[in-house]
């Protein structure tokens, strides 16, 4: 009888994170920072479809899944969703970081459940021979390639798993050729010379090998455990009560996507025939100006509105240091294809997403890079400041 009940819930639960609503792991409670009613209605919807104690039945049959990486950021959240969905999940890592760590907001029980099930295949993905033999020996159904950068790294994986059902790749919206017309759509021209050309070459390789592949192109990813100092960069300055130096006019428009929404998108393409040989832009529903992002970080973290200082980056030589965490241009992509074809929508708006990141990470005193205000001081020291 329990089985029957679970089966009836099979359809509706399929594309909703199968984590109990009380867990703050995947969605911290909406604070007063919640802007949009969108999130509220989704919360309500969860309650309707997921009565307490419901059996968490996986929507597709249990698969043997390999994640390349998985201990740092995206994979941390993705692996949990997959394990919860009943799949057998193995992380391929060098073992430098622990295979699992309890996340802030994750209950002891949830963590125990996860850590007892997650598997580890220790190795260096640049050791192509080892990759080939170890993967062939294990035989995986699906590979999530979260940390691949170059096409050459993917070949041994394809060679090892001729019967692989799906190769799901974390690409990047950085592959798009800069354009005067925005947002970027998946059909837009790509830049073979971009910093992310390895991602492009990987997508091409996958396509040429006749593999059932899916590629997701995130823009800027943010959320707890972010190792790229995106929101952290702002939080450091806000905490120190420092002005926020923003290049040029601060009207440049960028786009942030929450890591948990990205993880959900990765789960939604699993075993989804619609996603076969498709690329999807995955990010937030709205875009934000640089100045606006500074304000949003302050609002999300409960800091007063920051002083923003604009400067002309051409007037400085910062050496190898990055004075600002975003590329100095408009950069955003439409998520319409994913919404239309997969039924995926981001659950986090900008303010509540930043609040989630702050509450579970920086606000608890954790961060990846210590504060470095050297470039700020160069900028602030100069008396010449751009008119805004």
């Amino acid at each position: 009888m329990a089985k029957l009940v679970a089966m009836q819930q099979l359809q509706p639960c399929h594309h909703i994170p199968l984590v109990s609503p009380s867990s703050s792991l995947l969605h911290s409670s909406l604070s007063e920072f919640s802007g949009t009613a969108v999130n509220i209605s989704i919360q309500k919807k969860r309650k309707v479809w997921q009565p307490k104690g419901a059996l968490h039945v996986k929507a597709s049959s249990a698969k043997k899944i390999l994640i390349m990486g998985g201990t740092r950021f995206i994979g941390v959240f993705l692996s949990r969703l997959l394990v919860k969905d009943g799949h057998q999940v193995t992380l391929f890592t060098r073992g430098k970081a622990p295979i699992s760590q309890q996340l802030p907001g994750e209950s002891d029980q949830e963590y125990a459940e996860f850590s007892s099930k997650i598997l580890h295949l220790k190795g260096d993905r640049k050791d192509f021979e080892f990759v080939k033999t170890s993967l062939a020996a294990n035989g995986f159904d699906v590979v999530y390639d979260i940390n691949g950068r170059e096409a050459v790294e993917v070949e041994p994986i394809l060679d090892a798993l001729p019967k692989m059902e799906q190769y799901i790749y974390c690409s990047s919206a950085g592959v798009y050729l800069k354009s005067d017309l925005l947002p970027h759509f998946e059909t837009d021209a790509v830049d073979p010379k971009s910093r992310h050309k390895g991602k492009l070459e990987t997508e091409s390789l996958l396509d040429s090998r006749g593999v059932n592949w899916t590629s997701l192109r995130p823009v800027y990813i943010y959320g707890p455990l972010n190792y790229n100092p995106v929101e952290e960069w702002f939080f450091h300055r806000l905490k120190a009560g420092r002005p926020i130096p923003v290049p040029n006019g601060g009207v440049q428009i960028t786009q942030l996507g929450h890591v948990k929404d990205l993880a959900r998108a990765f789960v939604m393409v699993l075993g989804n025939s619609k996603a076969s040989k498709q690329v999807y832009n995955i990010s937030g529903s709205k875009y934000v100006t640089f100045d606006g992002l500074a304000r949003a970080c302050a609002k999300a973290a409960g800091f007063p509105e920051p002083e923003i200082v604009h400067y002309n980056p051409k007037e400085f030589d910062f050496g190898k240091k990055k004075a600002f965490p975003f590329r100095d241009q408009h950069f955003f992509a439409s998520i319409e294809k994913a919404t239309r074809d997969l039924g995926w929508t981001p659950e986090f708006g900008l303010i509540d997403g930043l609040a989630d990141s702050y509450n579970l990470d920086f606000g608890r005193g954790t961060y990846r890079k210590p504060a470095d205000f050297s470039t700020d001081d160069m900028i602030l020291g100069k008396s010449l400041v751009l008119q805004s």
């Binding site: 359809q11 309500k44 005067d180 017309l181 925005l182 009207v251 875009y287 934000v288 039924g343 929508t345």
Partner: protein, 405 residues
């Protein structure tokens, strides 16, 4: 009868979607419907009126049920009245819309504000109204406040008000339409009513300025409870027959080798759509009154360009060199609204509601469309026309920029 009626409630779908099983909720929309506010999903409303849920639905007996187009059957021809402004950027919308409707076999009357003999009628699109007449349309002139008298006993199914910016102008038309039993009322508002903040794009449902004239009109129309009503919020348009300069402003300078003065950084994003996109969206709303009912649609294409980007695209279309000069209007004492055809700020909306609710797609392709526009620009001899660039000169003088004549 019930079954037939149920099938007639299935929305006319674009080829992209498979038709939903009567009574079943398409899973893609089940997931999506909760994340869209404040509009209701047409599929959901279909669901709750289908006989399998409510054997006797009031909707079936309402007069408006005759209005539903039967899926697969010959499309119903409508009688449409367009109340059109006699000037400004929006004038062209009524012209394209009328032309498209006539092309689809509908009956169209265009009521243009004012008098046929006025000087305003010597500018496009009015100079091309003969195209509407030869396609079977009727063109009349008058005061929209007297619309009832002007159209007399003629009955209409649909009214588009493409004229009023405030309640004074639209109320008489809306009131008349309601009393005349008009089934569908469409209103051209403006994306300019969105409150600006830090996040973009402006989406349907986002906060709007409380004091804008259009806002009062939108609310008034909503409260009149037409069988079907919809609001369209456009931005800037290009297209043959436009009444107000858009791309021409750039062409004027580019062909004369003049610098193009752009206020601010030139990074401001804006939507510049080909008017055929607006027309197709309106036409789709006429075809799908159920899907369009009670909705707000950003009436724009799905890409934005920066102001600098627009200049570049115009120069490329013209095959000429481009020199952009940026200036700070405040510092130079210039009113940028007089000096430049676009708002000096991000002004960026996306047509998500139209794509989702109507299955509409955008066809604006600025690089291609601007080539066509430039060809026409030259063919009418505007590139050779004598022009004054007083404000430009004032700006350039302040910036001490050399102009090669």
């Amino acid at each position: 009868m019930a079954t037939a009626a149920a099938s007639s409630l299935l929305p006319l779908h674009s080829s992209r979607r498979t038709p939903p099983i009567a009574g079943a909720l398409p899973s893609s929309l089940a997931r999506r419907s909760s994340s869209r506010l404040p509009v209701s999903s047409p599929f959901l409303s279909t669901l709750f009126t289908s006989p399998s849920f409510y054997p006797t639905s009031k909707r079936f007996s309402s007069p408006s049920s005759n209005f539903y187009v039967k899926a697969g059957a010959q499309e119903e021809k409508k009688k449409v009245l367009v109340v059109n402004t006699n000037s400004g950027g929006h004038a062209i919308i009524g012209f394209y819309f009328a032309r498209e409707l006539l092309g689809s076999g509908h009956e169209v009357t265009v009521l243009t504000v004012g008098e046929e003999s006025s000087d305003k009628m010597k500018k496009p699109p009015f100079t091309r109204f003969s195209e509407l007449v030869s396609a079977g349309g009727r063109t009349v002139w008058g005061d929209p406040g007297e619309v009832g008298k002007i159209v007399g006993t003629a009955a209409f199914d649909v009214v588009l008000d493409n004229n009023g910016k405030d309640l004074d102008a639209v109320k008489p038309v809306a009131d008349w339409a309601k009393s005349a039993g008009i089934k569908q009322f469409l209103y051209i508002s403006s994306a300019g009513i969105y409150k600006t903040g830090d996040e973009f794009p402006h989406l349907e449902g986002d906060p709007i300025k409380d004091d804008a004239g259009h806002v009062f009109v939108e609310k008034y129309i909503a409260d009149l409870s037409f069988s079907s009503w919809a609001i369209f919020r456009p931005q800037y348009m290009i297209g043959s027959g436009n009444n107000k300069d858009c791309e021409e402003w750039f062409f004027d300078r580019i062909v004369r080798n003049r610098p193009v003065p752009i206020p601010g950084s030139g990074m401001q994003l804006t939507n510049i759509s080909h008017v055929r996109d607006l027309s197709s969206m309106l036409s789709l709303a006429v075809e799908k009154p159920l899907a369009a009912n009670g909705k707000i649609f950003n009436c724009v294409c799905d890409r934005a360009a920066t102001l600098d980007g627009m200049a570049r695209l115009c120069a490329k279309a013209a095959g000429r060199e481009l020199k952009i000069v940026h200036y700070d209007p405040k510092a130079l004492g210039i009113d940028s609204r007089k000096a430049f055809p676009f708002r000096n700020m991000h002004f960026y909306a996306e047509p998500r509601a139209a794509k989702e609710m109507l299955g509409w797609t955008s066809s604006t392709n600025l690089p291609e469309d601007l080539k066509e526009r430039f060809d026409e620009y030259v063919s009418i001899g505007r590139d050779k026309k004598q022009m004054q660039f007083d404000i430009d000169d004032k700006i350039l003088e302040s910036l001490k920029v050399m102009v090669t004549v």
